[in-house]
Symmetry: C2
DNA sequence: TTGTACGCGTTATCAG
DNA sequence: CTGATAACGCGTACAA
């Protein structure tokens, strides 16, 4: 790959301003950094000159020296998922006020890609990392061994890794979803969720199973379909269930639970294409509450992730560590809420 | 702010592995960088040892030295807008394959915030920057003076700045929107767009005016409402138009053009709240084609941004510059397409 | 083929 | 109060 020999940042440095003003560069450095060891009037002239020349410090050099880069890293699985990007957007905006820049990496539900993002981040020394892991890979998380006190794992809890956690009670989400369907007489349901390597998926399913058991309905594992979450995967997953010859689904169901709203909308699309009405023929419940889910036809009943609290919790931790120099590890465990809209209806056969 | 004295990246360096293996660190450096000036078997042992010790190069030091950081910077106005994030996601994922990390900054439609992102980026020396500008601020763009050949401005064209451009024909988007409405007999329309400091907004409006003039319908400037784009701003903008006492809008309209789908959905929400039916009472046309717009009630007729081509064009430029070391400046000018769905209907009064 | 010396732009320590 | 000097980790001429 060709070396890029552009000038990088502006090529005016503390040295060049020192020469310009007739001082040693170390004095200039002090002046710029608000050291009290420098005369007020020389500081003033340095500041003046720096502004005049358009100086901005080279964060690479500073980071190399100070071991702090004023940057935070963020890794998660689908940058396109509004629910998650919304959380990181707020964090990024808030931290930007303190001069922090955000590094972002899309893990794409792939452990190896996630790993390469982690490596890349580590070599850039962000002051803090937030990770919504692709899977509960202890291997990948172990790469953060040197900075567990500056790492938040979002939405999962990984054994043996003692870092900050902002966790969501996905079991309750699953429980609420299943209860709603069961309560409305839907006992034949399909569940679309991410692969079981994701502990969040397992939790979700456990919550569902708990509801089934409370309602005395047997839970059939073959009704569990593991897919990554996207509009397209929702669409194709449903189409895969369709038996074109019989003009019917290969498995009977009147209810659907989906671990991601985006995916639910893909399911909507497929269902509509197959001539199924929502909710008259099929009831659907999503998960995460995408900002646009209230506008769909019909508005999607879903489990709302506590995004505000997740954001606040992350920020509380980051500021506590980065600004207040606090050392203690925090664990948050947040509850989702249920948003009843119009995609679930009483089972007509009851 | 407290200094963070964590170890940063792993604290094993070429020095430590050199000591461990009994070589000078420069030999280690060469071995690691695939220099041909090192014996194959020593390279092998170095690589082995490096892997064993879990070495990863410090990109700060490397960047300081090589003036290339294997990172790209991205600045745009609403990270939450799926249409834009989708473009940057693809770019980020593609560049990640080449070892590039992405810096991201949300400009929030604010020139000063944008400026601080630019400064922050510059001091981190990204190899390439993509900017979807908050406004056509030549001042902000001028900060990139040293790297115009490694800058893409997305969606606008700024006078006097000779950088790469990937531009979209917003005028045509406006023209198509207005034509559709006019064709369906809607002559009383409201236009929601971003403030006129954004050239893209001006272009959009010019396209609309062209359609009006072709249809011989006078264009009234007071029907232009300038707002930033978000679901909430769409909602509140419509509510602001409502006269609660008269129980009617303070200005009569049967059609709405919106410069952003997200905002259109906020408008949907407000209209519905006010008891207006879409499209029976009010026809709505969006802009940008959000992935979820086809699922709304009713599915939103909109102008589809050529996101695929935008992505491809950006990648073509970046790779050309970064990988093929190409020096020439590129300009792309892309056409949007019109997506007719169900939010526009013939004006009942016609 | 390997090692030495220097510089990238900063900050920090220690003399002056 | 100011100015040399070392160090951060790495890459690269140049010397061995």
């Amino acid at each position: 790959m060709a070396d890029n020999n552009g000038s990088g940042g502006s090529n005016i440095t503390i040295k060049s301003i020192a020469k310009e003003i007739g001082l040693s560069f170390s004095t200039v450095s002090k002046a710029l950094n608000g050291s009290s060891l420098v005369k007020e009037e020389t500081r003033a002239s340095v500041l003046e000159k720096a502004r005049e020349m358009g100086y901005s410090p080279n964060m690479l050099a500073r980071g190399l020296r100070k071991k702090t880069t004023k940057s935070i890293g963020v890794i998660f699985n689908d940058v396109e998922n509004t629910v998650w990007i919304r959380i990181f957007k707020k964090i990024s905006i808030e931290m930007a006020k303190y001069g922090y820049t955000t590094l972002i990496g899309d893990g794409q539900f792939d452990q190896n890609i996630e790993r390469s993002h982690i490596m890349s981040f580590l070599s850039r020394m962000p002051d803090f990392v937030i990770l919504s892991p692709s899977t509960a890979s202890t291997d990948n998380l172990a790469l953060f061994a040197d900075m567990t006190d500056r790492l938040i794992v979002l939405g999962e809890r990984i054994p043996n890794i003692n870092c900050h956690y902002v966790d969501v009670d996905y079991a309750t989400g699953g429980y609420m979803s299943a209860s709603e369907l069961l309560e409305n007489g839907h006992t034949d349901n399909i569940i679309f969720t991410v692969p079981p390597e994701f502990p969040i998926s397992t939790q979700y399913v456990q919550g569902i199973m708990r509801a089934y058991s409370e309602y005395g309905v047997p839970f059939e594992k073959e009704r569990l379909i593991y897919k990554h979450t996207s509009i397209d995967s929702g669409y194709s997953s449903v189409m895969d269930l369709w038996d074109a010859e019989k003009e019917a689904f290969s498995i009977h169901f009147t209810g659907v639970m989906v671990f991601c709203d985006l995916m639910a909308h893909g399911i909507y699309k497929a269902l509509r294409k197959l001539g199924k009405r929502i909710p008259e023929d099929i009831s659907v419940i999503g998960h995460d509450d995408n900002p646009l889910s209230e506008f769909s036809k019909p508005p999607l009943t879903t489990v709302c992730l506590p995004t505000e609290k997740m954001t606040e919790s992350c920020l509380a931790i980051i500021k506590s560590v980065l600004i207040d120099d606090n050392k203690e590890i925090c664990h948050y465990f947040l509850d989702p809420t249920f948003v009843r809209r119009e995609s679930v209806i009483q089972n007509s056969k009851c």
